[in-house]
């Protein structure tokens, strides 16, 4: 069958070009790799190679022709022992070949109904059975216990990072894990965040459950390429094949007098990335329950802690397996006059602010977001509907929201 040679698109956006020069003439034999013509666009001149064997039968578009649309038949090749049946010069390719769309593409200009998957029913914190023993734990102990419990429960869970093993953790969060689980599962890494974040991500893709510790999230900027491009996006691009159940955890945000390079809050950056779960707990109970949930999640999690809170003590229910829901905020202080939304260390500041306000006769409701992505909008809006005034405490940068009825008000934090 004679082969129609069509004007190729030489870039994703090319719609037409100039057939600058023919390098073969009618009657020439061509084979795979023979350059047939030079085609010019506004960006470049490219060579058009033959991929088939045959003889040039008829050249339909002459040299120098401008504005040749992509898909136009420019020449016809005859196969071995064939006659050439010339197509009408300048015709576009036949309908059933030119379009990449199918019959299912909506013909009408009407809006197609895009069905988003229904959101999950809102989860609630599991109830704590009456009579459960309550213990006092620091946040660092709670995080360590979460990791130890998950490592006992699931052999695939391991921890890697700088100083996590023999040093017992730069901030002593992983203290005791090396002794219980051994160096195969508690792995000291060299100071190479880009590389070990990639190795952790790859290990998760390969079926393990890594917990990758960054000494602080400031250093994770060297690794952010893997967190975003590898861990967050690959499941989508693979049509669901490449799950990446990795947890990236470590201190985030302000510490004490450590300078600008060691003090940034990365919550807003990571919270804007589709495909990532971003958690930022405050107290020890949330830290433990949410780290367990993060490790069990099939999705990549960025788990933002805060160094100044590691040493604070909170009450934690002594339960075998207390796992908290990801994506659910918590009302940590009820009030009726103004809502303060906060996360991580700012929750403590918000509670302090609430005490000050109470002295002035204002009852503040404090919402601890706990998860930044996905954001629990329902809880925030329900509180706003109740109080009509809202202030957000993003660490030390208050953001103000206007309620439906009242003027915006600002609460210093």
């Amino acid at each position: 069958m004679p082969i129609e040679l069509k004007m190729p698109a030489l870039s994703p956006t090319m719609e037409e070009g100039t057939l600058a020069k023919w390098l073969v003439k009618e009657g020439d034999a061509v084979s795979s790799g023979t350059v047939l013509a030079e085609i010019e666009t506004d960006k470049a001149t490219m060579e058009f190679e033959s991929i088939d064997e045959g003889t040039v039968g008829k050249i339909l578009v002459p040299e120098g022709s401008e504005g040749v649309k992509v898909g136009t038949v420019i020449a016809v090749l005859a196969g071995e022992g064939e006659d050439v049946i010339p197509a009408k010069a300048g015709t576009s390719s036949s309908e059933n070949e030119s379009s990449g769309k199918t019959d299912e593409a909506p013909a009408s200009a009407g809006v197609t109904e895009v069905v988003k998957p229904a959101p999950a029913a809102p989860a609630t914190d599991p109830a704590i059975p009456a009579g459960t023993n309550i213990v006092k734990l620091t946040v660092r102990e709670a995080l360590r216990d979460a990791m130890a419990e998950e490592m006992r429960r699931d052999e695939r869970v391991f921890v890697m990072g700088e100083e996590v093993a023999e040093y017992q953790g730069a901030y002593k969060v992983t203290q005791g894990l090396l002794e219980e689980f051994g160096p195969g599962r508690v792995v000291d890494t060299p100071i190479t965040e880009y590389g070990f974040a990639g190795i952790g991500t790859g290990a998760a893709m390969g079926g393990l459950r890594p917990v990758v510790e960054f000494m602080t999230f400031n250093f994770a900027m060297q690794a952010i390429e893997h967190i975003v491009n590898s861990a967050a996006k690959t499941n989508y691009m693979s049509g669901g094949q490449m799950r990446c159940p990795v947890v990236f955890r470590g201190p985030n945000g302000a510490a004490s007098r450590v300078g600008a390079q060691h003090s940034q809050n990365y919550g807003p950056w990571y919270a804007s990335v589709p495909g990532l779960i971003v958690i930022a707990p405050y107290d020890a109970s949330d830290a433990k329950g949410l780290l367990k949930a993060a490790i069990r999640s099939e999705d990549p999690v960025v788990f933002l802690e805060n160094e100044l809170v590691y040493g604070r003590t909170f009450e934690v229910a002594q339960l075998d397996d207390h796992v908290l829901p990801i994506g659910k905020a918590r009302i940590v202080r009820e009030g009726s006059d103004v809502t303060i939304v906060a996360y991580s260390i700012a929750v403590g500041l918000a509670l302090d602010a609430a005490e000050t306000l109470a002295g002035e006769g204002i009852e503040a409701e404090v919402v601890d977001l706990r998860t930044l992505r996905p954001l629990d909008k329902d809880t925030i809006l329900a509180s706003l509907a109740k109080t009509n005034y809202m202030s957000g405490g993003q660490m030390r940068c208050p953001v103000v929201f206007r309620g439906p009825n009242g003027a915006a008000s600002r609460v210093g934090a």
Binding site: S11, T45, E47, I51, A123, T192, G202, G206, L208, Q241
Partner: protein
């Protein structure tokens, strides 16, 4: 660090039986015809975005992967990944359909040329950021060692990627922890438009592991039997628990870096020269003829493959697009 190279040089070419060599020949020819067709479909606007063709480099993927343990070893590469997928024997229809973005594609139409995966075959992509696949490959090797499953990871990257910092971070950890990984530099002489001489202070890439005491091998990537033999030497070393190997496979791509590359950085004569003297498929064909295989039989193979590729192209043109709801699926696995 030269021990593997020395062992390899004692006998550089694998001695296959006719059946195996014919199989390798067919695989390379399938990749060649498939890639030519993909280039054509791109020109017609049926494939969009980026499309990086493997034409000329076929012997590398085919030769190395023929020495892997099916289902046990893992493979990861960058965006020039069509050939690696076809070397698994995966149906060309679903690979072509992924190129045209259809629901029947191997990544359900959501990855495209650069993001093809088959976890079923332990093929982990298909990655767009230069060099990323090397650290990820380190992770796959880590998992093999952690599980003690006897598998190794074959991690391919190009001469351009070979200058990435994360590659050396990964080499360090791989050597330190004796991870079962084979680093493969597919040196096709050009990183997009930049030749190796213009981008690399050390162009002998197989020496790049010396800083970490990783043995290196220098292989002619245009000869599938040499590639296969080098794999035998390298994989044995890794399987014995000796840690990583760095292989440099010297090869060449006949087309530009991608479909949008006019390839002005090299002459037509250079490309034609390689094609005339070192084409991997012609080389295997010559070997087969020497072994007594009939020329007509080889012509039949070509016809069969051309038909297979045409079928794949037709399927890819006519297969339905993904439903619009697929914009929202697979972003996350869980619901929260």
């Amino acid at each position: 660090m030269r021990s593997l190279q020395e062992r390899f040089e004692q006998d550089r070419r694998f001695k296959p039986d006719t059946e195996l060599l014919q199989h390798l020949y067919e695989q390379m020819l399938l990749i060649r015809r498939f890639e030519e067709k993909a280039g054509q479909l791109y020109g017609l606007g049926l494939i969009g975005g980026f499309c990086h063709l493997y034409i000329g480099q076929e012997a590398v993927a085919v030769g190395l992967q023929s020495a892997l343990q099916e289902g046990k070893d893992s493979v990861i590469t960058g965006y020039r990944d069509h050939g690696h997928m076809l070397a698994y024997g995966i149906d060309p229809k679903i690979i072509m359909a992924e190129l045209t973005g259809r629901a029947a594609g191997i990544s359900r139409g959501k990855g495209g040329s650069m993001h093809m995966f088959s976890t079923e075959h332990a093929f982990y992509g298909g990655h767009g950021i230069v060099g990323a696949q090397v650290s990820l490959g380190g992770g796959l090797a880590f998992a093999h060692k952690y599980r003690q499953d006897g598998g190794l990871c074959l991690a391919y990257f190009g001469d351009g990627a070979a200058n990435q910092g994360q590659v050396y971070e990964t080499m360090n950890m791989a050597a330190l922890w004796k991870l079962p990984i084979v680093f493969v530099v597919e040196n096709n002489q050009y990183a997009m438009g930049t030749s190796v001489k213009r981008s690399s202070a050390e162009t002998e890439f197989h020496r790049r592991g010396t800083a970490f005491r990783i043995p290196g091998m220098d292989v002619n990537g245009m000869d599938v039997l040499e590639v296969r033999q080098s794999a035998e030497v390298a994989f044995a070393h890794v399987r014995e628990g000796n840690g990583p190997v760095l292989m440099e496979l010297n090869t060449y791509r006949y087309r530009g870096h991608s479909m949008s590359d006019p390839a002005k950085y090299r002459t037509r004569e250079e490309v034609q020269g390689v094609r005339d003297t070192s084409d991997p498929i012609e080389g295997a064909k010559a070997d087969l003829l020497k072994m007594g295989v009939d020329e007509d039989e080889l012509k039949d193979i070509d016809k069969r493959i051309k038909a297979q590729v045409a079928e794949a192209a037709e399927f890819a043109e006519n297969s339905p697009l993904p439903a619009e709801s697929e914009l929202y699926t697979d972003v996350l696995v869980g619901s929260y």
